[in-house]
């Protein structure tokens, strides 16, 4: 695990070129050490044309980076390459953290159905050698922190969708990851629950100053949470077609952040660029 990216002084934001060139333009805005450096990543499934080809991006500690793009452009594939679930076909993924310091929150809330909430949360800790009693105590602490006290002994099918998602979140956060990969983690939740879970997560991420790479469909969510948003072009052979720094001070509040003067104009710009990618599909909506 090597750390990478010699640090250069970032250019003033106004001069940042679009499309994105990682070599000329290291994206770390906040002081923080690089955690992930993806360079010219190419991924393919089987013999098909590469899903992504030439993707480069960086995430530093204390930084939240969002990856957006048209459906099927390969956003999840980037996360899978970083997590090690799939081997890259070309290019490289450099990590300055150990695999055990990574947390991956999936789109679905597939907990082990035969394990209780407590056992599910404790599993990762147990795999890191924590004794059972201590892992259970820690699991209960995290469940309580996410508002799930009293549900420790429930099985996943006895929990609501929002509760399952919180258990999945507790499962990942209990490991105190230094890098958190999230694949549309809250897509299935209703608006209110989603707001609360996201706000909880935001607070924790800002407190711990971990690196986060978030794949999402929701442009507002991306902008509200992130320090930088990367736009993936339409696939196959998707690459990063633009990057947008988000210059809103932290700590942030999910509602308040939308009132920031730069929020609406940037949202419009990202929306415009994303629509451009989608329109090239020739389909329209």
């Amino acid at each position: 695990m090597t750390s990478t990216a010699q640090r250069r002084k970032p250019k003033p934001l106004s001069e940042r070129p679009v499309p994105y060139d990682p070599e000329a333009d290291p994206p770390e805005r906040l002081p923080g050490s690089p955690v992930v450096a993806v360079r010219n990543l190419r991924m393919r499934y089987g013999k098909a044309e590469p899903v992504i080809d030439g993707v480069s991006l960086d995430v530093a500690s204390g930084q939240v980076v969002s990856l957006i793009g048209p459906s099927g452009s390969g956003k999840s594939t980037v996360l899978r390459a970083i997590s090690g679930l799939h081997k890259p076909d070309g290019g490289e993924v450099k990590l300055s953290v150990e695999p055990r310091e990574m947390g991956f929150l999936f789109q679905d809330d597939a907990l082990l159905p035969w394990r209780t909430a407590r056992q599910n949360v404790a599993l990762g800790l147990r795999l890191r050698g924590t004794p059972k009693a201590e892992a259970f105590r820690e699991a209960d602490r995290w469940l309580a922190r996410l508002g799930l006290s009293g549900l420790e002994k429930r099985y996943p099918r006895q929990l609501s969708g929002g509760q399952r998602k919180r258990v999945a979140l507790a499962q990942v956060l209990a490991l105190r990851p230094k890098l958190l990969l999230m694949d549309e983690p809250f897509a299935s939740l209703d608006a209110i629950v989603r707001h609360h879970v996201t706000q909880d997560l935001l607070q924790w991420v800002e407190g711990e100053r971990i690196a986060v790479l978030l794949v999402t469909h929701d442009l507002e969510e991306a902008q509200a949470l992130s320090d930088a948003v990367y736009l993936l072009s339409r696939g196959p052979r998707a690459r990063i077609s633009a990057s947008y720094p988000i210059d809103i001070p932290r700590p942030r509040d999910l509602i308040g952040v939308r009132g920031h003067p730069t929020f609406a104009p940037l949202l419009q710009r990202i929306w415009h660029d994303l629509s451009g990618e989608v329109d090239q599909l020739g389909g329209g909506i």
């Binding site: 695999p99 991956f104 999936f106 082990l112 099918r157």
Partner: protein
């Protein structure tokens, strides 16, 4: 919910009683030939005589031994083969067609062959029962592993789990669920194997008694034996049901 269940029970009891009474009356009145369908009271008497004589236990023990040995052997061998095939691709290439063939044919046609190979004693019955069960369990375990929820596999992998953890936390529980789904069918198969084996050639067992009763056109004894076998299979069904609820408690919690 409980009321609905109680009502269903009541309806079933009434239907059964009516049927038995009707049978008794029709048979006694000569509307149906007692030679083919002896009245229930006569069957009950035969039932009593079978047990009063005491020799029936020896036959029950023989059938039970064959069925249970076949059931456990079949579970063991079927699971082992299914697991091995799912893990070792070349083995699957060889085993799968054999199992598909064995699954497609009525496996009881193997009974005469097993009697030639293993004699008319316990061995041939266990073998037949075992083959019936093993093929069923092979497919449960094989597909249970092949079709395991990949999301769960990836979840455990990203939490840091290796092969041993995956086996313990994902594969074994999910295969258990599949096998429990076919356990009741397996119990039925185990008895089919044992009884059919005895039916073809033997000197002991409920199947042997059945074959004997049939050869003397003793309908009362045949029916009594059928009811005995049904009772034992139902008993095992309920045990299998309890085992399932215990092992899959997370599903019923």
């Amino acid at each position: 919910m409980r009321d609905a269940l109680a009502r269903a029970w009541a309806r079933q009891a009434i239907a059964l009683t009516t049927l038995v009474l009707l049978w008794e009356v029709c048979s006694r009145a000569g509307l149906i030939d007692p030679f083919y369908a002896p009245p229930p009271t006569v069957i009950a008497m035969t039932f009593y005589e079978l047990f009063a004589g005491g020799t029936i236990w020896e036959h029950i023990a023989a059938t039970f031994s064959a069925a249970l040995l076949g059931l456990f052997g079949g579970l063991l061998i079927g699971s082992a083969l299914g697991f091995a095939a799912a893990m070792v691709r070349p083995l699957a290439d060889v085993l799968e067609p054999v199992m598909i063939l064995l699954n497609a044919i009525p496996r009881v046609i193997l009974a005469p062959l097993f009697i030639i190979w293993f004699g008319i004693d316990l061995g041939s019955k266990v073998a037949l029962s075992l083959v019936l069960v093993a093929v069923l369990i092979f497919f449960s375990v094989y597909s249970g592993i092949r079709e395991v929820d990949t999301r769960l596999v990836e979840r455990v992998q990203t939490l840091g789990g290796g092969r041993a953890t995956l086996l313990r936390e994902v594969y074994v529980p999910s295969v258990t669920a599949w096998v429990m789904g076919s356990l009741k069918v397996a119990v039925g198969f185990a008895f089919t194997g044992a009884v059919v084996g005895e039916f073809v050639a033997s000197s002991r067992g409920l199947g042997y008694l059945l074959s004997f009763a049939q050869s003397t056109y003793n309908a009362a004894q045949t029916l009594a034996l059928i009811f005995i076998i049904m009772a034992f299979v139902l008993l095992l069904f309920s045990l299998a049901g309890r085992l399932e609820r215990w092992l899959l408690h997370w599903r019923y919690a």
